[in-house]
């Protein structure tokens, strides 16, 4: 630790030596022993003053003082450990929750893309695709000819970069012997240079790599760390992507995980031109890949504004090029009455819009909730401090009377608050780390959530504010006790101050109002959660497991043979009840939507209602495997093959909407262009398909062996016992057929459905948790305030009881105090809660924003808390012994 260079003892020793030397000399001049000593001392003057000056000159006096203050503060906090623990925990919870939510918000909403000069980057968007084009996203994806034309233009945006996933989920990769899955994108040659992403290891791609479709790969830093333990030796090694060998040439900068928010790309390869690596992992359509198929709008585009060009200028230059290129392969011009699509440029500085709306609203609401919790927590601690310091008024008065300056008192109060805030802050930081990790896992946010400088600054800012607040708020109370108050000994007179306690009451009432708001919000969301979790799916998901396979399919016949083979082998595994395959797995948010012909024509629908039908391509035994009841007709069977009559199955909703009052069996349905038709052989019960919170919609199923296209599929297996236990055996079967194939996203069907409500579940759980936290905080605050008020009124209660008040009357007097506050809080809180409920209404499922039950429960909950928090002090008040209370006077 810090030491003074020279001890005060040493200095005292020197002065003693001086006095002796001086006395010696004076004796030499003829003085007597006593007189010499007296003269020496007289000559020196004030020895103590010299020592004091030496001490004050010491370099660490300021620090010394601080240490003394700290020691004093710790000592005085130690005298009331309950208060200290409550204050620190309250702070830790309030600040920790804010830090955690802010971390996520920072990572998801505020952090810029980890690229060079992100302000000049723009996402390309279109108002709509041209008629006749198929899209991935009707506003965000473009065809290859559009990309090609825009990049050739090269003036407004330089460069225009395309990126497209190799699969809607993950793609099969192999490094060494074991097949795995990873997220990969195909990108332009200008991708890394254009975005300004550094490559700490190796190199990125060049234009030539794109032109030649070079078999190269760049790994993300995260993937490199996770999978390759940051071995520099990966450069030059081969990574098989869907069985195609790619040479690893580089590793991208840390933190760069693609330009789409939320997802995390593991590797990038240049735009390829081969069947195994079609965009989105789709099978080729009429033998055409994404590059040749101008009707498939599947590429995402991002561009960098050319130097000196504004966004408006760039758009003006690109618009005509875009509107021409949009009709390449679509007849060259819009159909009659069709509006040309309009290009627009969207800010790419932060994560893209879709992400913003998904998580953004939820996160902002959570942030508001934890903000309220923080307010309650801060108010609580401030009130605890005020109460505590008011009780110490006598102490302050005495200290002032003994000569302590106001500055000294202020320093002491600030030191105490510093100790509380430091301890609370340290605890909060640890708590936030944990909470952030949990939040990230629950919300399935794959980007890095590690707190950065912004988060640290945010937390420090909150802490500094808290520190000042806690230091200054009680000062008023402390200074109000003037020195002469120390002379008054009556507890009743020195501690009574009506104005001060009124502030406390107002704060408690406000806290209760906020608590009502949080409880109502939490209640609405928890009821939403219960509704979602208890929604019948219309199928039996117990014992059902699903995984994806993406085999290499050179021809239609071989593809069909692969699946027939796979189904057959899986059926033979012990414990398997039934097996089927399907293109879209239920509960994955994906669906294939189109209009369908019924009996040779598009069905008539009343007043413009939607004609949309969801369809899926499935294998034999599909409804038996899923546990969906077949209401009429039959399930698909092994006997439905490419050569047998084309058959289809519909759901109840389809029949109700398009074949009302008819027996659907035997009718024909087909694609909207009439090129494909099939006979309805079965009708199944409505069940959930895309997600849990959807309404029934018409559906139709095709048999995979009967349609002219076959690609990646999901395998559903119904087993006896634990569904996940079948996976190792299934993996072995798949790899016997093709050693390159991993099982893609294997999970139980239940888990798959749960992902569709993961957001709401997370939101509801957090909201419930924060509501609970708020109640807890309000309870401690109320208890603290009431207990404090009772302690102030001990003498008064003593007098009342001495003159004949009964126990019950005293208890009621104290309880009434708490109840009045509760009523005030509720009156204020309910209208506020109604506003919040309206803001929440789009996040609710199966419950109205003005749900009486939630309000009643919130109010009842608050009342119970208030009652319990008041009962203890009331009990204590009633057990006051009048004689003792009076004797303290």
């Amino acid at each position: 630790m810090f030491r003074q260079k020279r001890s005060a003892e040493d200095f005292a020793e020197e002065i003693k030596a001086h006095l002796e030397l001086e006395a010696d000399e004076l004796r030499g001049e003829g003085l007597g022993v006593d007189q010499a000593q007296w003269m020496a001392r007289r000559e020196f003057g004030n020895v103590r003053a010299a020592q004091e000056r030496f001490y004050l000159k010491g370099r660490w006096v300021a620090l010394d003082k601080l240490m003394r203050d700290l020691r004093f503060g710790l000592r005085s906090l130690k005298q009331s450990p309950g208060f200290a623990a409550t204050a620190i925990l309250t702070l830790a919870l309030g600040i920790g929750a804010n830090t955690a939510v802010f971390s996520v918000m920072n990572a998801v909403l505020l952090k810029s893309l980890p690229v060079g000069d992100p302000n000049r980057l723009v996402y390309l968007r279109t108002s709509n695709p041209p008629r006749g084009a198929g899209t991935i996203d009707s506003n965000e994806t473009f065809s290859y000819p559009v990309y090609d034309a825009l990049r050739q233009q090269g003036r407004g945006l330089a460069p225009v970069m395309a990126y497209v996933p190799l699969s809607g989920s993950k793609v099969a990769v192999r490094y060494g012997a074991q097949p795995e899955e990873a997220e990969g994108d195909m990108v332009s040659g200008t991708f890394f240079t254009g975005l300004g992403v550094n490559l700490p290891l190796g190199r990125g791609f060049s234009d030539a790599d794109e032109t030649n479709h070079a078999p190269l790969a760049v790994l993300s830093y995260n993937y490199w760390t996770r999978r390759f333990a940051r071995a520099p030796a990966v450069l030059g090694k081969t990574l098989y992507v869907s069985g195609v060998p790619m040479t690893i040439v580089g590793v991208a900068a840390e933190g760069f995980e693609g330009v789409e928010g939320g997802g995390s790309t593991d590797f990038w390869i240049p735009l390829q031109n081969r069947r195994e690596l079609n965009a989105w992992g789709n099978p080729t359509e009429d033998g055409k890949l994404y590059i040749a198929d101008s009707t498939w709008w599947c590429l995402r585009l991002i561009g960098r504004l050319a130097p000196g060009v504004s966004r408006e200028q760039a758009l003006a230059q690109l618009q005509p090029v875009f509107q021409t290129a949009a009709y390449v392969g679509l007849g060259g011009s819009p159909m009659e009455g069709e509006k040309r699509p309009v290009l627009s440029l969207a800010d790419a500085k932060n994560f893209p819009g879709s992400y913003n709306t998904d998580y953004g609203r939820t996160l902002r609401m959570l942030m508001a909730m934890v903000g309220l919790v923080l307010l309650i927590a801060l108010a609580n601690v401030a009130m605890l401090l005020m109460a505590r310091n008011a009780a110490r008024q006598r102490e302050f008065s005495v200290r002032q009377a003994l000569g302590a300056g106001r500055g000294e008192l202020l320093r002491q109060l600030l030191t105490e608050s510093l100790i509380l805030v430091t301890a609370g802050g340290a605890l909060a930081w640890g708590f936030a780390q944990m909470a952030t990790r949990l939040l990230g896992r629950w919300a399935q946010i794959e980007t890095s959530l590690a707190p950065d400088r912004t988060v640290l600054l945010f937390t420090l800012g909150v802490l500094a504010f808290a520190g000042l607040l806690f230091g200054l708020a009680p000062l008023r109370v402390a200074l109000a006790g003037r020195a002469e108050l120390a002379l008054k000994t009556s507890a009743a007179t020195s501690n009574m101050d009506a104005g001060k306690s009124r502030t406390g009451r107002i704060i408690v009432a406000l806290q209760m109002a906020l608590c009502v708001v949080l409880l109502v919000g939490g209640g609405l969301l928890v009821r939403t959660l219960r509704n979602l979790e208890n929604t019948p799916l219309g199928m039996n998901v117990d014992g059902l497991v699903v995984f994806g396979v993406k085999p290499n399919i050179p021809s239609l016949a071989e593809g069909r043979a692969f699946y027939v083979n796979l189904i057959g082998k899986l059926r033979e595994l012990p414990g398997v009840e039934s097996v089927t395959v399907m293109v879209e797995r239920p509960g994955s948010w994906w669906s294939d939507n189109s209009d369908m012909q019924v009996d040779g024509k598009l069905p008539d629908v009343a007043n413009g209602a939607a004609r949309t039908v969801r369809s899926n391509v499935v294998g034999p035994d599909v409804f038996r495997t899923l546990g969906v009841p077949v209401l009429a007709g039959r399930d698909f069977a092994d006997s439905d093959t490419a050569t047998s009559p084309h058959v289809g199955i519909i759901n109840e909703e389809f029949a109700r909407r398009f074949l009302p009052g008819l027996n659907p069996l035997g009718h024909t349905i087909g694609t909207d262009d009439g090129r494909w038709s099939m006979t309805i052989v079965g009708m199944v019960k409505n069940h959930k398909y895309r997600s849990i919170d959807e309404e029934p919609i018409p559906m139709a199923w095709y048999e995979y062996a009967q349609i002219p296209i076959v690609g990646a599929m999901n395998v559903e297996i119904r087993v006896h016992g634990d569904p996940l236990a079948i996976l190792p055996a299934a993996r072995k079967v798949v790899q016997q057929l093709d050693p390159n194939l991993p099982l893609i996203r294997p999970m139980t069907q239940r888990e798959q459905f749960d992902t569709t409500i993961a957001h709401q579940v997370l939101f509801a759980r957090l909201a419930g948790f924060f509501g609970f936290l708020a109640v807890l905080l309000v309870a401690t605050g109320l208890y603290g305030t009431l207990a404090y008020r009772v302690s102030l009124r001990t003498a008064e209660i003593g007098v009342r009881m001495a003159v004949g008040a009964r126990r019950g009357q005293v208890v009621w007097m104290i309880l009434k105090d708490g109840l009045v506050l509760t009523v005030a809080g509720v009156c204020l809180g309910v209208p506020l809660a109604m506003l919040v409920g309206r803001a929440l209404s789009s996040s609710l499922y199966g419950v109205r924003a003005l749900d009486g039950m939630s309000y009643a429960l919130a109010v009842a909950g608050l009342a119970v808390v208030a009652l319990v928090a008041s009962a203890v002090p009331a009990g204590r008040a009633a057990s006051v012994d009048p004689m003792r209370a009076l004797r303290t006077e």
């Binding site: 020793e13 030596a17 001086h18 030397l21 001086e22 010696d24 000056r53 030496f54 000159k57």
Partner: protein, 122 residues
């Protein structure tokens, strides 16, 4: 009360001059605090009043600045005492401060003598 009433003609030291006097005294050789005080008093023909408390604080200040260093030793009459001596840095400071002081006194002299018309300078 008894004060130093018999020393009326002594002058309290000017701010900052004590340091210079200490350094000058130590130029003659290592010395303890009491010796320094005596020496200053004697050499100023008892004009300067050295406040002993201030002296020791000043010594400490000079030591902190590393202009002088100190060592416990034994005085000529066998008393334990803390002996101070100049450091090279202290010598430099002495030269510098002496120069400053002469300039100051000369300037003061010029102003104070101007009215007397004693202008020997060209």
């Amino acid at each position: 009360m008894a004060t130093q009433e018999n020393n009326d003609d002594r002058i309290a030291l000017l701010q900052g001059t004590l340091d210079l006097l200490i350094l000058k005294t130590l130029l003659l050789g290592p010395c303890h605090g009491q010796g320094v005080a005596r020496m200053i008093q004697r050499q100023s023909e008892d004009v300067f009043l050295v406040d002993h408390g201030s002296l020791y604080v000043a010594l400490q200040r000079l030591e902190d600045r590393k202009w002088i260093r100190a060592k416990w030793g034994v005085s000529e009459n066998n008393r334990k005492a803390r002996f101070y001596s100049l450091t090279p840095k202290g010598r430099e400071q002495l030269a510098e401060k002496t120069g400053e002081w002469t300039r100051l006194t000369r300037a003061m002299g010029l102003i104070l003598d101007a009215s007397g018309g004693l202008g020997e300078e060209a």
